[in-house]
């Protein structure tokens, strides 16, 4: 019986995968499971941008882009299954949108020579391209986020945080633990007091954490949450009457899903970001004309312009630009994953380029090099307006404290290199 099932499955796989001459962009999405609310808009944005390129420009450099979706449910085992079943289709770049799956795929993608882009998540020290040759996390990572939040607070408090109390509410997983080291270093540097409050998956239960916040009265709360944890935290913060403007979320805790549930109480809540918000960009007219009006929108088509939709779109835009760069470097339209990697490593995003793409001021300017796969690490701040029901950008994309972050990146990537016998260096 088991062999029969297996044979059928593989026969099906072979029948279903004809040789493609398209540029394949797999999307390991999660439209189901506990984190679906965040997975759906991202996957929609990612798919819609490529659909728009196909409809408007006939693909990238004359070659059609093809997005293969595979449902992971934020589950690492399904993530592996998805990776194995799509890697043979000529997949150019992976975007797993899960730190857990990222950790698994870093060695696998490197061994298979396929680049992976973990935009604003994943393993932060992958910013060191000398060790992580096939993993990219530009334009900003978790540690830039932590530092960005602290810089913002420094600016608010006239450059002095000594004696302040800051609490970190975090998802008790690899993702949530990422910023702790950085924040500890920054606490030492600026003299504020850091307290840690882990929240277990999925994050429905936060009564005790917020009671502690009510008792300790920290000046600010920083949150690294994802999924249902965010809206519960915002609601709990409102319940203990924590002033919302002192509550800062990382970019994964700053979407409409996280604040709408709390209604007016969420007004003033802030979240970091590394890309623009809203749908007031020329590119959205093209998406409307070429994707939505033709009935080609991914999913239900009701997410356009939301924060996470924009993030998916931004990820797709960066992937498409890297593909174009790769085509230029290698002088061929039909690129391989290895060429894609070179394209990502030579990627340069300037204001002029973004304006040309219909995304003026949508993200920070940055360029990628072999030594630095993390970009410039510029982060901005957004704030939620509960009456207008929209996020607005309240500060420009500002640099973060690389003095603190760079040594940590060096240290963590050196440990990884030692564990896995990697000879750091640029080819």
């Amino acid at each position: 019986m088991k062999y029969k099932l297996g044979t059928m499955a593989v026969a099906g796989l072979m029948a279903a995968s004809p040789v493609m001459a398209d540029l394949v962009f797999p999307s390991l999405s999660y439209r189901t499971g506990p984190y679906a609310a965040g997975g759906i808009p991202f996957a929609d944005g990612y798919a819609d941008y490529f659909t728009m390129l196909n409809e408007r420009d006939g693909g990238i450099g004359g070659v059609m882009a093809k997005v293969i979706e595979c449902e992971t449910g934020y589950n690492t085992e399904k993530g592996v299954e998805c990776y194995e079943s799509t890697k043979g289709e000529g997949s150019l770049v992976y975007q797993p949108l899960s730190t857990g799956i990222t950790y698994q795929l870093i060695p696998k993608t490197t061994a298979d020579g396929i680049p992976m882009h973990t935009m604003g998540y994943g393993r932060t020290s992958a910013a060191n391209g000398e060790v992580f040759s096939h993993t990219f996390n530009y334009p900003a990572n978790y540690w830039n986020g932590a530092s960005g939040a602290i810089n913002y607070l420094l600016a608010e408090n006239g450059g002095d945080l000594s004696g302040k109390k800051i609490a970190l509410v975090y998802h008790n997983s690899a993702y949530g633990k990422e910023p702790i080291r950085t924040l500890e270093e920054l606490a030492e540097k600026h003299g504020f007091e850091l307290s840690l409050l882990p929240v277990d998956h999925p994050g429905q239960e936060q009564k005790s954490q917020w009671l502690q916040i009510r008792r300790d009265r920290p000046d600010n709360v920083i949150m690294y949450g994802w999924g249902v944890m965010n809206q519960v935290a915002v609601q709990e913060a409102a319940n203990v009457r924590f002033p919302m403007e002192n509550f800062i979320g990382i970019w994964w805790s700053g979407s409409e899903n996280d604040v709408l549930a709390a209604g007016d109480a969420a007004n003033g809540y802030k979240a970091l970001t590394f890309h623009g918000v809203g749908s007031d960009f020329p590119v959205f007219d093209d998406i409307q004309a070429h994707v939505v009006d033709k009935g080609l929108a991914a999913g239900a088509g009701d997410q356009i312009g939301t924060v996470l939709y924009n993030r998916g779109l931004y990820a797709a835009m960066l992937a498409a630009e890297a593909a174009k760069t790769a085509q230029e470097i290698h002088g061929t339209a039909d690129i391989t994953p290895a060429m894609m990697r070179d394209g990502m490593e030579a990627l340069e995003i300037t204001e002029a380029k973004m304006a040309e793409l219909g995304l003026p001021n949508f993200g920070p300017e940055f360029n990628v090099s072999c030594e630095n796969h993390g970009g410039t690490g510029l982060v901005g701040m957004t704030q939620w307006d509960a009456t207008a029901k929209e996020w607005t950008l309240i500060s420009d994309f500002a640099p973060t404290d690389m003095e603190v972050i760079q040594p940590l990146i060096e240290e963590d990537s050196a440990a990884y290199a030692a564990e896995n016998n990697i000879e750091p260096g640029c080819k």
């Binding site: 297996g6 499955a9 857990g100 061994a111 990422e178 564990e419």
Partner: protein
């Protein structure tokens, strides 16, 4: 028809008590083993191994382990995920060299173990932990015991998430399997060959299945079954319940630990304890043995195959053949698997193993009805 018994006589007790008393059955078993060992490794690729065979083999070991405890000894356990985590973390610590600290000083560090011994140590450590959490079973039964093992599940996951010594103080709390090899053939890490990881897991699966089979049909297994069927009566006829229950916990946890070690080191390569070894893992393995058949080694395999391969098959049919949206297929997967479980358990409460037994019986008697 197939199962001809004419001319198939046993002349010794050993022959009479063998696992496959019918010649045809025995040869079929040898053929399956032969194909699994000498044919499959040559025809598989990454997808086959990482998506179908490895999870099947590893879950089969976990199901055998749980089946010994629940199916043979009647001690309900919901701690499988936690025990798998013990196996995984123990394997990781032994792979990277266990470091013992005392008062902030590094007391000593063991050398790095070979991957085979790391996996076995994963089993041994889990056996110890299993015995510890099996102690309540001496005083409580049924639901109360299920709750005690549930506590083990949550406590162990919390422990591995909380104490950074277990993940070698890494910033994120993830554990990553470093590259390890046997005689120069890579078994863990990203550059492994599909046949190597497959054979490695197959070896453990076959050994575990054979050991489990022989334990369960020997005096140990009989004691377990006596405890399961009626513990008072078992005690009266001279079965020591303490020994029987604790050996069941130890042996069961040993297998589950091995499966956890393989799950982390060979199959996934990196795990996060809350995500990989949560409560849903405990339920998944429990469903496997319920569907496969309690108190049956074949049932453990059948249940593992059912719950590992069916979702993948449904995905292939739905997404790749019919081209449906991925989320619809994922929802349908839940519905179909759930429905199948219900229908199946109504039609055959004793699981796939019983179905197989009935079919075999019918084949033996064919063409006569009785």
């Amino acid at each position: 028809m197939f199962y001809r018994e004419a001319g198939d006589f046993s002349t010794t007790y050993a022959e009479d008590q063998q696992t496959f008393p019918i010649k045809f059955d025995r040869y079929r078993y040898y053929v399956v083993l032969f194909i699994a060992i000498f044919v499959v490794p040559f025809v598989i690729n990454d997808y086959w191994v990482n998506s179908l065979l490895l999870p099947f083999l590893i879950y089969a070991i976990a199901a055998i382990g749980l089946n010994i405890l629940v199916g043979y000894c009647g001690q309900v356990s919901l701690g499988t995920g936690g025990f798998m985590a013990v196996g995984a973390y123990a394997c990781y610590k032994f792979m990277t060299g266990v470091d013992i600290w005392w008062g902030g000083e590094l007391l000593f560090q063991l050398p790095e173990f070979n991957i085979v011994f790391s996996v076995i140590m994963g089993g041994v450590m889990t056996a110890l932990v299993g015995v510890l959490f099996g102690l309540p079973s001496l005083r409580i039964k049924g639901f109360y015991l299920a709750v005690a093992t549930l506590a083990a599940q949550f406590f162990l996951v919390w422990l591995f998430n909380r104490v950074s010594w277990f993940y070698n103080y890494s910033a994120s709390g993830q554990i990553n399997a470093p590259e390890r090899d046997i005689f120069g053939v890579l078994i863990t890490g990203p550059s492994t060959q599909p046949w190597a990881t497959y054979l490695f897991c197959l070896f453990f699966t076959i050994v575990c299945a054979v050991v489990a089979r022989n334990l369960t049909r020997g005096s140990t297994g009989r004691k377990w079954m006596a405890i399961r069927d009626m513990d008072i009566a078992a005690e009266i006829i001279g079965v020591n319940p303490l020994r029987a229950k604790l050996t069941a916990f130890a042996v069961s946890s040993f297998f589950i630990g091995i499966s956890g070690a393989l799950f982390f080191s060979v199959y996934l390569g990196a795990v996060e304890v809350g995500e990989a070894f949560g409560i849903q893992k405990s339920f998944l393995v429990l469903f496997m043995i319920i569907i496969g058949g309690l108190g049956s080694i074949f049932g453990s395999f059948a249940g593992a195959a059912f719950l590992v391969l069916l979702p993948v098959l449904l995905k292939v049919v739905g997404v790749d053949w019919l081209g449906w949206p991925t989320d619809i297929v994922a929802h349908l997967q839940l519905v179909i698997v759930g429905l199948l479980i219900i229908v199946f358990l109504i039609a055959e409460p004793h699981g796939i193993a019983q179905l197989w037994r009935v079919a075999k019986e019918k084949l033996r008697l064919w063409p006569f009805p009785h």
